[in-house]
């Protein structure tokens, strides 16, 4: 059974979700210790969405995410150490310390941020897909955004463009029910996001975003449809943020009982329970998995701590390109 632990679909999914959960729990401690400053938006509770969707992508595909993107960055394969160094504002961070928590970027994995303007990433994702389309490549651009973005004009402009031009975009609406503190029913006349996408002629699928297996299945089918030439696809991933919007949020706008109710549907809990039930996971292996993840995060923190600061003399670098990549 130890050999099976090393790999295998469900266990990989569990490992990825645990990496995100434990990474962010450590971030909270580091925030309290003032190692991390600025905004810190936690993804805890929503891990199944990023892990499930990104498991369906290949290395040539592109990802556009939001300011709540630590999970996506980790699941996409950006090293935890480079992400943690970025959170610390260090030179070895994945954005050289210029971006921080909200602006994780990585050329190697085609991870185009980290966009902190709600819906601002959607037109960019459409353009990445347009470039691939014009070159005749079969790559997919996965674009993550919250249900709050659906109220923005850029959502409607982007989904119209993608559908009109038949572009390979996987729209992933992470519906966690709150745009910061505004409940979806207080901001949307139509609270069914999939229906909005369908109005543009886009195939739209509601998904249980707390069930990583369901997310994998839906994303795999959607990516296959895009590669087949069926045009853009839309997933409405029903999920829930267990923590406050950011470290500044006193969380006054929702009932504690509601949060506790959703925790019964914790994606890690659900998968762990299922794997235990079918005999592919026991205490011993879960402990081993936790130890493996903890070691990776320890190393990431040590790396970030040891990383230097960019010299202030270099302040104005990267306003314009230094070399011409033609």
């Amino acid at each position: 059974m130890t050999d099976e632990m090393a790999s295998g679909g469900d266990l990989d999914l569990l490992r990825e979700m645990l990496r995100i959960r434990r990474f962010e729990e450590r971030c909270v401690e580091l925030y309290s210790a003032t190692k991390i400053r600025g905004f810190l938006h936690l993804y805890i509770g929503e891990e199944a969405v990023a892990v499930g969707v990104l498991s369906a992508l290949g290395p040539a595909d592109a990802v556009v995410a939001t300011y709540r993107e630590h999970g996506h960055a980790l699941a996409r394969g950006i090293p935890a150490a480079a992400i943690m160094a970025e959170m610390f504002g260090r030179i070895d961070g994945c954005s050289g310390g210029r971006g921080g928590s909200m602006h994780l970027f990585d050329a190697v994995t085609r991870f185009y941020g980290g966009n902190a303007i709600v819906a601002g990433g959607l037109p960019v994702a459409v353009g990445l897909a347009l470039a691939d389309h014009l070159r005749g490549e079969d790559t997919v651009t996965a674009c993550f955004f919250g249900e709050g973005a659906v109220a923005e004009g850029e959502f409607h402009e982007s989904i119209n463009l993608a559908a009109l031009w038949d572009l390979p975009v996987l729209f992933c609406c992470e519906n966690n029910l709150y745009a910061m503190g505004t409940a979806v029913a207080r901001s949307e006349s139509e609270t069914n996001m999939a229906r909005k996408a369908a109005a543009y002629g886009v195939d739209a699928t509601p998904v249980d975003g707390m069930d990583v297996g369901a997310v994998v299945d839906a994303a795999t089918a959607a990516v296959a449809a895009i590669r087949r030439g069926d045009g853009p696809q839309f997933l409405e991933l029903h999920t829930y943020r267990f923590r406050a919007h950011s470290m500044y949020d006193p969380d006054r706008y929702r009932d504690k009982a509601e949060v506790e109710e959703w925790k019964h549907r914790d994606p890690i809990l659900l998968l762990t329970r299922r794997l235990r039930a079918d005999g592919s996971l026991d205490d011993h292996h879960l402990e081993a998995l936790e130890a493996e993840v903890a070691a990776e995060i320890d190393e990431a923190v040590a790396f970030a701590d040891a990383s230097g600061l960019e010299p202030v003399e270099d302040l104005t670098r990267h306003v314009h390109s230094e070399a011409v990549p033609r």
């Binding site: 602006h103 970027f105 941020g113 037109p123 459409v126 353009g127 402009e157 119209n160 463009l161 070399a323």
Partner: protein, 325 residues
């Protein structure tokens, strides 16, 4: 050869599309309609709808798509019909195009060109007539070009496309029909130097874009009064070629800035500040600014004319600078 500003722009577009498969033009009515100002007329027939791409009325959407396509390895040219409409895309221009290179620690550059019409003079009233290029020139990470001559209309696009970072090109609406002679072999020009369009020794008239020819006309009139004016065409508002301006002011000791933008918080204010920072002791008179009146541009012809700088205003400004010595 005889040509117009519009035809020179079109020749530049055509050359760019022929030279590089990654180049495509995208915007409202650039294809079947031929361009809001007919710049791209005929290009869809030659290059097809994939490369001369009509976009819906979604400025933020298609400017952002241009940014994404540039990130994805293409060389898009996005046309926005007028600068007023570009405000709908300001999020993408400011928060993405100008910012991604920096936020990504230098990993992702945005080789995007955005062209748009600017300026008054055609009785198009307050939502089609403003000169907001000075606003855009506020933003680090952008380059802002203001071609006024046929040579620059023909030559700036190629250089902008070769730039690894976002470049905005502002085409003054009154220039499209301007006719003139252009060398048959006219091609790429630099995009970071101002040009002295008329040499003079008594006063430096600093301008760009649509007011260049009014300023040159004013210089002719001033010559009749015995005032020898130098006319500097900035050509680019970001970066600003201050060495050329300062060198001129050090010779003439007087400066007049002519700008169709509003005076408050403007590019003319920036240039004036830099002149006083860098050449204060060379000045024989306070810097004079000839700008648009602080009103939304009105429709009625006589009011529009009164709102934007005219030849007589430039002449009066130069007289003030020279008389104030």
């Amino acid at each position: 050869m005889k040509t117009t500003y519009r035809e020179a722009m079109r020749a530049a577009l055509r050359e760019a599309l022929l030279a590089d498969d990654r180049v495509f033009l995208m915007g409202e009515d650039v294809g079947a309609y031929g361009g809001g100002f007919a710049v791209s007329l005929g290009l869809i027939e030659e290059f097809g709808p994939e490369r001369i791409r009509d976009a819906p009325l979604s400025e933020s959407g298609f400017v952002g798509a241009g940014i994404g396509a540039a990130l994805g390895g293409m060389r898009p040219i996005v046309e926005i019909m007028t600068v007023n409409f570009s405000l709908l895309a300001l999020d993408q221009i400011m928060n993405n195009a100008a910012t991604i290179l920096h936020m990504s620690g230098g990993q992702f550059n945005v080789p995007l060109v955005i062209r748009m019409t600017t300026g008054a003079g055609r009785q198009l009233a307050a939502q089609h007539s403003h000169s907001l290029e000075g606003w855009l020139a506020h933003i680090p990470g952008l380059k802002v070009l203001t071609p006024a001559t046929l040579e620059d209309a023909r030559g700036m696009l190629a250089t902008a496309l070769a730039d690894p970072d976002p470049v905005l090109i502002f085409e003054h609406g009154t220039l499209y029909n301007m006719k003139g002679e252009l060398a048959d072999d006219a091609g790429a020009v630099d995009i970071d130097r101002a040009a002295v369009r008329r040499a003079g020794s008594d006063v430096s008239l600093v301008t760009y874009g649509g007011t260049l020819f009014k300023t040159l006309d004013a210089a002719e009139e001033l010559a009749g009064e015995g005032i020898d004016a130098e006319v500097i065409d900035l050509r680019a508002l970001r970066p600003l070629d201050m060495p050329t301006v300062i060198e001129s002011v050090r010779r003439t000791h007087r400066a007049v800035i002519v700008d169709e933008g509003w005076r408050s918080g403007s590019i003319s204010a920036e240039i004036s500040a830099r002149i006083t920072e860098q050449a204060f002791w060379d000045l024989d008179a306070p810097v004079v600014r000839v700008c648009s009146a602080e009103v939304p541009i009105p429709f009625a012809k006589h009011l529009e004319d009164a709102a934007v700088p005219q030849v007589a205003d430039v002449v009066a400004g130069a007289r003030q600078a020279v008389g104030g010595g």
